[in-house]
């Protein structure tokens, strides 16, 4: 049986070891070998991760594919891995996106290829580790470990202001992580355990919960990112190389959201219920305020970065509507819709924002500009590319039939159950999201050929076509038939929602 293999360990360590091998192989100076090796490793990891879906048992809320080994017995720290439906999907997203990133960097990165590829592979392992860890210490190690490759990717292969952006990224997220560490240590002293699942059952007073809640909020809100700790993201995106932006948007932001699911909600349910207004307010600010900011951006990457923040607002909103619904109706009927919608939004946003950053990358590789004003009429010279970019733009605007619709739709429906005005404010994305995305599309793709540069553009090559094409298929597939993604979530989400409305006091 495949499920007897330590699949989770494999998908963590395979890319990390692979990354080291890639580094070692670079001594030969053969960049092509390095690229093929990196591609091999990432594809292999993706293939190994597929049985996680195939052998997944939808009927149980228990953690699956669990692995357990003692690591530091003195502090009761274990190498404990396991996943539920939520983390399983995020792991698949990670392994898939990494393959795309390796392919998309193929001839774009010419400088220190091995280091670049290795950084992504090692980061992939660390991110899978975060999603799979059930031990808080292990989680924290992976959580911090993945910062380093990303710091290097922005700092070495980034744009003109890469050093500022890299340091801002690092300090910002590191600041958040410190609060996470304090929170975990406190929980350890209370429970004498580092097991996240033990923390879920740990009774805590309201004061303790509120303090822990705030610690978690700072740690995870920076990563998501939520307003007002979001300003690192536009800078990081603008300066990062395309691959870095893709991983940042598609996966790294999801880690913050995942923290809400794994730590904040189940460990501090009473504080979450008490302070849900805070998270909901910040989510709505993200949806409305950030959308307006996105509207006036002149740099395509910045625009998409702001759009990412706005879309992540739906995720945090979807996670926290449960308390409002529970207050209104006395049960959680209707909350699972929002919660599952939030998870679908995570996956969908991974595809769409990744694809949009790749689109900008495709143009950047040709004209070395990200400014909207440097483009115009791209459709005349790159029709295939334009068709794909319009598709992704429509998905970003939440058009039904694309994945972007599913999560937003579910969250808005659920938000209405809590309060009409939540749904109203969230629904403004229908107009604002379309406005900033399509206005950019209009200025970049449509119109007469604007300048010499645009006139000489070459349409997608096969490599770019494969990358964008596969994302397009996924965006459509998830939009036309989201059931395969939603079905694996039910058990975990129902279990969590039942748990969060039971007081720990």
């Amino acid at each position: 049986m495949v499920s007897d293999l330590p699949l989770l360990s494999l998908i963590i360590w395979l890319p990390i070891v692979g990354g080291i091998v890639v580094l070692a192989a670079s001594r030969g100076g053969n960049d092509n070998l390095v690229r093929k090796l990196a591609l091999g490793v990432s594809v292999l990891t993706f293939v190994v991760s597929l049985p996680l879906y195939g052998a997944f048992d939808k009927g149980t809320a228990e953690m699956q594919f669990q692995e357990m080994a003692t690591w530091i017995p003195a502090f009761n720290i274990n190498y404990h891995l396991g996943i539920d439906g939520i983390s399983m999907l995020l792991i698949l997203l990670t392994t898939f996106t990494t393959v795309l990133v390796v392919i998309s960097s193929w001839e774009v990165i010419k400088h220190k290829v091995a280091q670049y590829m290795a950084a992504f592979l090692i980061m992939e392992g660390a991110m899978n580790g975060v999603f799979a860890a059930l031990d808080a210490a292990l989680f924290y190690v992976f959580w911090e470990a993945m910062l380093i490759p990303m710091f290097l990717i922005i700092g070495i292969w980034g744009g003109a202001r890469r050093v500022y952006a890299a340091i801002k990224f690092f300090l910002y997220t590191f600041l958040g992580s410190v609060f996470l560490l304090v929170a975990i240590l406190y929980l350890f002293f209370q429970s004498d355990s580092f097991s996240i699942l033990d923390y879920h059952a740990l009774p805590l007073s309201m004061t303790e919960q509120v303090l822990l809640f705030l610690g978690f909020l700072l740690a995870f809100a920076v990563k998501v990112p939520m307003w007002p700790v979001h300003t690192w993201l536009p800078d990081a995106h603008v300066e990062a190389p395309t691959g870095g932006s893709v991983i940042l948007a598609a996966i790294m932001l999801k880690l913050g959201a995942y923290g809400f699911v794994r730590f904040m909600l189940p460990i501090t349910p009473d504080a979450s219920s008490e302070l849900d207004w805070l998270v909901i307010t910040l989510s709505l600010i993200a949806i409305v305020y950030i959308a307006l900011v996105a509207l006036v951006q002149e740099d395509m990457k910045k625009l998409i970065a702001y759009s990412s923040i706005a879309h992540m607002g739906f995720v945090t909103l979807g996670f926290f509507v449960v308390f409002g619904i529970f207050d209104q109706t006395g049960n959680v009927q209707g909350a699972a819709l929002g919660f599952e919608g939030a998870v679908v939004q995570l996956i969908s946003h991974g595809f769409i924002s990744g694809a949009l950053f790749l689109c900008v990358g495709v143009m950047y590789d040709r004209l070395h500009s990200r400014q909207i004003s440097d483009y115009g009429g791209v459709v005349n010279t790159m029709p295939t590319f334009a068709a794909l970019m319009v598709l992704f733009a429509m998905a970003n605007a939440g058009l039904p039939g694309t994945s972007g619709f599913v999560g937003e739709f579910m969250v808005i429906l659920s938000a209405y159950k809590a309060n009409f005005w939540l749904a109203f404010l969230a629904g403004t994305t229908l107009v604002l999201g379309a406005a900033y995305t399509l206005w950019m599309v209009k200025r970049v793709l449509f119109g007469e050929v604007k300048n010499e540069g645009v006139a000489n553009l070459k349409d997608l090559n096969a490599r770019e076509g494969v990358v964008l094409g596969s994302l397009a298929v996924l965006v459509l597939l998830l939009g036309i038939w989201p059931a395969p993604v939603v079905d694996v979530l039910h058990s975990a989400v129902d279990n969590l929602l039942q748990h969060v409305v039971i007081s720990k006091l």
Partner: protein, 650 residues
């Protein structure tokens, strides 16, 4: 029958995909064949369905195609509801679409985007069919947004034109404003009915009739009123009702076949169809019906007036579409859903005819659209001339033509209705008849009669359009004439729609009218003696006088009533208002939030401010670390003194 239903939607979809993805491989002829065959299959199958449901009186079909997802116990499905209403709609949609497909071969003959165009219009047909065949709100919304998407693609079809890509963005965003309301309406339905299925919702609606909800602090609102108004906001976007009408005139930037298909015959009727489909809900809320009625009436009259000052042949017809959509909406508000749908059907025929005839003129004149540069075309284009005349007569409701029956039914229905706003609406639609006749025949006379003002260069090649253009015109002209005679009785008064449309007895104005109905001929005779007919004749007469007999008068009138002309020419200032307040306001807000909120406050003060603060503090602290022993010794002595004095005196 299920495979037939599937075939109806899939045939155009497959055509669209093949023409879209493999356009280069299959070539131009391949693209038009594959899409025309697809739509033709769809049309033939629609005939089968029409026979099955309407003529054979089989039971309505309501079934699931596949389950989109299940979450929280709510099933999200894709499925079909095929009843009399759907059967009629798919027939109209596929017929007009088929005509437009054929016509496109001629119209787009020289266009480099030929395959793309066929792909889009087939995709549009698919979307519209999904919309009208839906048995649940999810699929309705899917079709709703999909027609919006295709409309976006088609208005911006000539993507090099700045005006086209402005218009398509505008159309999409204005529609999105409507969809925003629509989505909230759907959300309300899910929250209170716990289902997206029409059948479940309609069954439960009477039980919810007295339920109230709180939206603003303490006011109690009737739930169904809230839902119906929210859904109607969506209809206002798609069916271009005031104030969400602004996108439709601009949408004329798209190629003419699209103006005929999307912006006259089908997509804009989605809102009308939706309200008729939701009649079990609207019937339970008189407030919502009044809102629908008043909005429709305002649209019917005010948009017709704008048609008087347009000089672009397509824009004249576009404003007439807006005005006629207003008539349909009025019918819905008066609970005369059948009359609304009937007018939708007749309008689809004669408006598609008018647009395609206008397109025929436009290509004959090498893409000249200004009616001031036409005139006297009758002798060059006889087929187009007669078709345009038939379309215009149908539009103004000349007795015997299809538009007469449907429009007269609406006017009579509003007259008979006694819900709030019906009196106002009656006067609007009555005056609208005069206005309609005036602008229609103004255009007609200016284009086909009178002196030739044609560009000499264009005149050299002037001739009647080829058969691919004229045959669809003739095929559309036939139902424009006879559809009323044939179907007025069954559709309006003889229960054609069965259970697919629900009307409460006290609202049932059509039943009242039906009591006096003695057949189409009697209807016509009655029409000859009623006010609308004479108003229409007055309109035609005035148009003839102003533009044929005294062509100097319009200019004089314009100078005399310049303020009025300017008001109409500026379209009541709606566009200016939207541009300044909504578009400009959002951009200004965005700029302030970005520059002040993000850049100055968060990044400037908090983030970089912290960094500067730390830098400044370490600068200060560094001064103390001077490295001179006597500085440290001095500090120690001071410290010792302070501590000692604290111990001694405290």
């Amino acid at each position: 029958m299920e495979s037939v239903y599937l075939g109806i939607v899939l045939a155009p979809l497959i055509g669209a995909i093949v023409a879209g993805l493999f356009g280069r491989q299959i070539g131009r002829a391949g693209a038009h064949w594959v899409t025309i065959v697809g739509v033709a299959i769809s049309f033939l199958l629609s005939l089968v369905v029409f026979k099955h449901i309407v003529l054979d009186e089989s039971a309505a079909f309501n079934g699931t195609v596949y389950t989109w997802m299940v979450s929280d116990g709510i099933r999200f499905e894709i499925g079909f509801l095929i009843d009399q209403l759907t059967a009629l709609m798919i027939l109209v949609v596929t017929f007009v679409s088929l005509m437009v497909h054929i016509y496109t071969i001629g119209y787009m003959h020289d266009d480099p985007g030929y395959q793309r165009f066929f792909s889009y219009i087939s995709l549009f047909t698919f979307s519209m069919l999904m919309l009208v065949m839906a048995n649940n709100f999810l699929q309705l919304f899917f079709g709703w947004e999909a027609v919006g998407l295709v409309s976006y693609l088609l208005i911006g079809f000539w993507y090099k034109r700045e005006s086209a890509i402005y218009a398509n963005l505008k159309a999409f965003l204005v529609n999105r404003v409507g969809d925003f309301g629509f989505l909230l309406g759907i959300a309300a339905i899910v929250v209170y009915f716990n289902s997206l299925d029409y059948a479940d919702v309609f069954a439960a609606a009477p039980l919810m009739a007295d339920m109230t909800v709180r939206i603003f602090a303490a006011d109690e609102w009737n739930l169904l009123t809230v839902i119906c108004i929210l859904l109607f906001i969506g209809a206002m976007g798609k069916s271009a009702q005031v104030p969400l009408h602004v996108w439709l005139p601009d949408s004329m930037e798209g190629p003419t076949p699209i103006s005929a298909l999307i912006h006259a015959a089908t997509m804009v009727t989605a809102g009308i169809f939706m309200v008729a489909r939701m009649s079990p809900l609207y019937e339970l809320s008189e407030t919502a019906l009044s809102v629908v009625l008043v909005i429709g009436a305002v649209t019917a009259l005010s948009m017709g007036l704008l048609g008087l000052v347009q000089n672009d042949i397509k824009r004249v017809i576009a404003y007439s579409t807006l005005s006629q959509l207003g008539y349909m909406t009025v019918a819905l508000g008066a609970s005369a859903y059948a009359a609304g749908i009937f007018h939708l059907m007749t309008h689809a025929f004669f408006k598609a005819l008018l647009f395609l005839a206008a397109g025929s003129v436009i290509i004959a004149l090498h893409h000249e659209q200004d009616i001031r540069k036409m005139g006297g075309l009758k002798k060059y284009m006889p087929i187009t001339y007669w078709c345009m005349l038939i379309g215009s007569l149908a539009l103004i409701g000349f007795p015997g033509f299809s538009g007469f029956f449907s429009k007269d039914a609406i006017i009579e229905a509003v007259h008979a209705s006694d819900i709030t706003g019906a009196g106002f609406a009656y006067w609007c639609v009555l005056l609208g008849v005069f206005v309609t006749a005036l602008y229609s025949f103004r255009m007609f006379f200016l284009v086909f009669h009178g002196p030739e003002r044609i560009d000499p260069h264009a005149k050299a090649h002037l001739h009647e359009s080829p058969a691919v253009v004229t045959v669809p015109l003739i095929l559309l002209a036939i139902p424009s004439v006879i559809a009323g005679l044939l179907y007025a009785g069954p559709l309006l008064f003889q229960g054609f729609f069965g259970d697919s449309i629900v009307v409460r007895a006290e609202h049932d104005v059509l039943a009242q009218l039906g009591e006096g109905y003695t057949g189409a001929l009697g209807f016509m005779l009655h029409g000859l003696m009623a006010a609308p007919f004479w108003l229409a004749m007055a309109g035609v007469g005035l148009a003839y006088y102003l533009y044929m007999v005294r062509p100097d008068l319009p200019e004089k009138l314009k100078q005399q009533f310049l303020w009025l002309y300017n008001l109409l020419d500026r379209k009541y200032g709606c566009d200016d208002f939207n541009d300044k307040v909504f578009a400009g306001g959002s951009r200004a807000a965005g700029r302030v939030l970005w520059k002040v909120g993000d850049v100055t406050l968060i990044d400037g003060v908090m983030v970089n401010g912290t960094a500067y603060g730390v830098g400044w503090l370490s600068g200060v602290v560094r001064v103390i670390q001077s490295g001179f022993l006597y500085h440290y010794a001095f500090a120690m002595i001071i410290g010792l003194l302070v501590l000692l004095s604290w111990f001694v005196f405290a």
